[in-house]
């Protein structure tokens, strides 16, 4: 089968529509993951053992099950319980929750990396708990986490095609509908692959720069 450039030009605008949604979903998903991950990391450190254990189990469970099934769960089960989510919202929550459990590990490594002396100094200066976190611990813990976090950001980007299974019209879904409509799979599928490959090659270089700039943990 021959590569048809005219067909590529014809479908490119449609695919670019999908790229917009792919990028939007990744950005929103990583914002959710950053917040949820921090929450998981803090809850796991809770002095209340029940809270810490429950969080640990939940994190393990989410990490041990496929994102696709989690997305189905959000998309099909929640409406039965009376919570109606738009496909994109369900997708962003699914991505955010799934990668939030990975981010929790990144936060944990970053927080554990702050020397004990800093905690003791904060106590000696009579700082309250929130003050210790906001002014002493997090400013030191966050920068070394940036490369690891960026790594998961790229990984999430590559998992956004799963959102097509819950009818989000992102890049993969646009490509599939174009392919099914014209009955030509070669160009749409290859273009999607090339798109992800380019983004990922760029991100390899970018990640290396981040690692040089901020060092690495975990």
């Amino acid at each position: 089968m021959d590569w048809d450039w005219a067909f590529v030009r014809e479908i490119l605008p449609t695919l670019l529509e999908g790229v917009k949604l792919t990028i939007l979903a990744t950005l929103l998903g990583s914002a959710v993951a950053a917040v949820v991950g921090l929450a998981f990391a803090l809850l796991r450190r809770s002095p209340n053992r029940l809270v810490a254990r429950t969080t640990r189990f939940f994190v393990e469970f989410v990490r041990g099950t496929p994102l696709l099934v989690q997305l189905y769960f959000l998309f099909y089960v929640l409406p039965d319980l009376g919570i109606l989510l738009a496909p994109l919202v369900a997708g962003v929550i699914g991505l955010g929750l799934h990668y939030g459990t990975y981010m929790a590990e990144v936060y944990r490594a970053g927080i554990d990396n702050v020397p004990r002396g800093q905690w003791e100094a904060a106590k000696a200066c009579n700082l309250t708990g929130p003050q210790t976190w906001i002014h002493v611990i997090l400013p030191q813990a966050l920068p070394p986490m940036i490369p690891a976090g960026a790594n998961y950001f790229v990984a999430m980007f590559k998992e956004t095609p799963l959102l097509s299974a819950i009818t989000v019209l992102e890049l993969m879904n646009q490509a599939r509908s174009v392919a099914n409509f014209n009955y030509r799979y070669l160009e749409p599928m290859t273009l999607v692959g090339v798109f992800f490959l380019i983004i990922s090659l760029i991100s390899v270089v970018a990640l290396r720069m981040l690692e040089r700039r901020f060092g690495r943990v975990g």
């Binding site: 099950t65 696709l68 189905y72 039965d80 095609p161 799963l162 599928m189 290859t190 990922s200």
Partner: protein, 219 residues
Amino acid sequence: MSQWLGYIPLMLEGALVTIELTVLGSALALVMAFLGGLGRLSPHAAVRALATIYIEFFRGTSIFVQLFWAYFVLPLFGLTLTPLQAGIAALGLNVGAYGAEVVRGAVKSVGREQHEACVALNLTRWQCLRHIILPQAFVIMLPTFGNNAIELLKGSAVVSLISLADLTFQAQVVRSQTGSTVVPFVTSLIIYFAIASVISAGVRGLERHLTRGLDGVRA
């Protein structure tokens, strides 16, 4: 309750397909990981370049895209794969690329003095790799390999979208036939988690077995 009890065998059948995919995919991934990882450490520039291209290509394009490409585009080049074959190939090659980096890192982390000892003992390159380097490096690889196998298990859910009747696919079948959503999806999540737990327990056991007697030998 009784309405969906009849569907339990269907879900278990799906679970078997998922397990089959995971086992065969992991086997392929293991082979590819060693080929790719050792390839990147090869003294021949051509082999190194080939291994690098393989790794960057399969890590760079998403598993989803690779699967669809294998299933829908390869037939256009005259290579028709069944959904199961396409699934095993895509999963194995994808996870194998991630595993290759693990192999490379582990082999490089074995101390220089071990290589020097090989030279001193007049071992060939292959003997050195087989008897000295890999037994030490493999222990380092194991925990990450376990994580990779779980990633593969999770990735295998995607094959339901190319009409392979795995666990996720059967959950969708049950949903569309009974209209119940909680039962099929919660059941499949629990089965996935159970399989993942078995994998991580197995890897931990294997690690204990292989590190026996190595205490104090490794830094």
